[in-house]
């Protein structure tokens, strides 16, 4: 099946094509569709591009290897989110990563800078983004994932519940505590990003 023929299909159809015949072309379309979302959430979890790239690639490999187990009980997007979050949490839990230091936040930001901004504005934004990312990284992992999902990815509580499998009350309270903590960490920063 040609990519042109299937690129317009929705997630459910593409997933079924992959499930039926391990169609790598159909899967590549799904990867293209969700690669930015997955890479973004991985970057917010990991704080550096190399780890984010590893985690996001690992996420899609897991999706491909387990796609036949996907029963369409939730949306494919939610399923990918869940796999990405778990992959990142596993990476962060590993001792190897805990001993590493983040060094490439600024260089990562350089790639996304707008050409219309003055250098002063651009570097100020980079500084603020790094402060915010550092603050996020200081959160406990369970709060971090909820802040990423709720405030950065801006998912609904329903989606967060489906992804994390946590009770809604727990999600609310953890988000509240995480926001309070971030408020304290970022109290001196004016919103200028």
């Amino acid at each position: 099946m040609n990519k042109e023929d299937i690129c317009h299909l929705d997630d459910t159809h593409l997933v079924k094509i992959v499930q039926d015949g391990n169609d790598i072309a159909a899967f590549e379309i799904l990867v293209r569709r969700y690669q930015d979302m997955v890479y973004n959430i991985c970057f917010r979890f990991m704080g550096q591009k190399e780890e984010a790239l590893d985690c996001s690639q690992e996420t899609f490999i897991k999706v491909y290897e387990n796609i036949k187990r996907f029963k369409h009980l939730s949306s494919f997007r939610t399923w990918i989110y869940r796999i990405a979050v778990n992959t990142c949490k596993n990476h962060l839990s590993s001792r190897r990563f805990r001993n590493q230091q983040k060094t490439d936040y600024i260089s990562e930001k350089m790639e996304i800078g707008s050409s219309f901004e003055s250098p002063e504005v651009y570097f100020e934004k980079q500084r603020l983004q790094k402060i915010v990312q550092d603050a996020i990284d200081k959160l406990p992992l369970d709060q971090k994932q909820l802040i990423i999902l709720r405030d950065i990815q801006q998912l609904s509580y329903q989606e967060i519940r489906e992804i994390t499998k946590l009770p809604e009350g727990t999600i609310k309270s953890k988000i509240s505590r995480a926001r309070e903590k971030l408020k304290e960490l970022l109290k001196d920063i004016k919103n200028g990003m």
Partner: protein, 300 residues
């Protein structure tokens, strides 16, 4: 509602998760409490700060990289499977080798026995050779024992005598002719035994047409009684007898006669048969030697 309760619900208030009544209560409290209002504003700014973080796009060729990694994983899985199968096959070979090696000690137990047997055989052969050598030495040392006269004497090379019947015996019964056909070589065990009447010599003997020594069969009955009598009188022995059918020579009898009795034997033979030839014995040891005669009896 106190400020503490308000602060705990600010997050839910911002997200619009509260019921209408509760939302109104918090809103009224924030409007009149600057401290709680400040906390509310600060939390809202923090959330907005997080929400304004730019979305980071995946690197170029990200999807191609993912597909390539998937292909590599599948290749590695296939390779691992192949390796596992290879290891399994190797393990099977090891098990087979072990089974063979486990069976090996039984063979090794047999091999020493074989070696022992072969060594024993070799040793016994050596012993036998030594015994044979010693026996030969003993024989050499032992004095020679006198053998019987006939067997111990040197034998004059075989001479051939042709005989023919003096009287025609064509009238003999047919059955007696047939009996003669059964005559074969004398069995080995009979050689050297005392000569008795041999049924193998029964049969019709016909005179030949030779022109050497001629013997005449005086009686028509049979040749054996006459010939055997002559041989036994001369202290000789029959070596072999052969009868032929439909040939000029009907019978060949090999006999061995003591040299001293040879002249008497020839004399008696001449009385009964027509001797067609009588070769001269030129052996210097004659008559001390035995004489071996090949007697050919011709048909009539």
């Amino acid at each position: 509602m106190e400020c503490k309760d308000i602060c705990e619900k600010l997050s839910d208030f911002i997200d619009g998760l509260l019921a209408e009544d509760e939302r109104k209560l918090i809103q009224q409290h924030i409007d009149r409490c600057e401290k709680c209002l400040g906390k509310y504003k600060k939390m809202k700014e923090t959330i907005e700060l997080l929400q304004t973080l730019p979305e980071i796009k995946a690197p170029e060729n990200f999807s191609e990289g993912v597909i390539q990694k998937i292909s590599e994983r599948q290749f590695q899985k296939q390779r691992r499977l192949t390796l596992w199968l290879g290891r399994f096959a190797f393990a099977e070979i090891i098990v087979l080798v072990l089974i063979i090696l486990l069976n090996q000690p039984q063979k090794e137990q047999i091999i020493p026995e074989k070696k022992e047997v072969s060594q024993n055989i070799a040793q016994s052969e050596v012993v036998e050779r030594q015994e044979a050598i010693s026996k030969q030495e003993l024989v050499k040392k032992q004095p020679k024992v006198e053998a019987p006269v006939l067997s111990e004497k040197r034998i004059v090379p075989e001479i051939s005598i042709q005989l023919a019947y003096k009287t025609a015996v064509a009238e003999r019964p047919v059955e007696k002719r047939l009996e003669a056909d059964r005559i074969k070589e004398i069995p080995t065990e009979r050689k050297g035994e005392p000569i008795a009447a041999s049924p193998m010599l029964k049969g019709k003997l016909q005179l030949g047409s030779g022109n050497d020594i001629a013997c005449t069969l005086t009686e028509k009955t049979s040749v054996e009684s006459e010939l055997i009598t002559i041989i036994s009188t001369a202290k000789g022995k029959i070596i072999s007898e052969q009868t032929f059918k439909d040939t000029e020579v009907s019978q060949v009898v090999c006999v061995e006669i003591p040299g001293q009795d040879y002249q008497d034997f020839i004399k008696r033979l001449n009385e009964s048969f027509q001797i067609r030839n009588l070769p001269e014995i030129r052996d210097k040891n004659f008559p001390e030697t035995n004489v071996r005669l090949k007697i050919e009896i011709f048909r009539q």
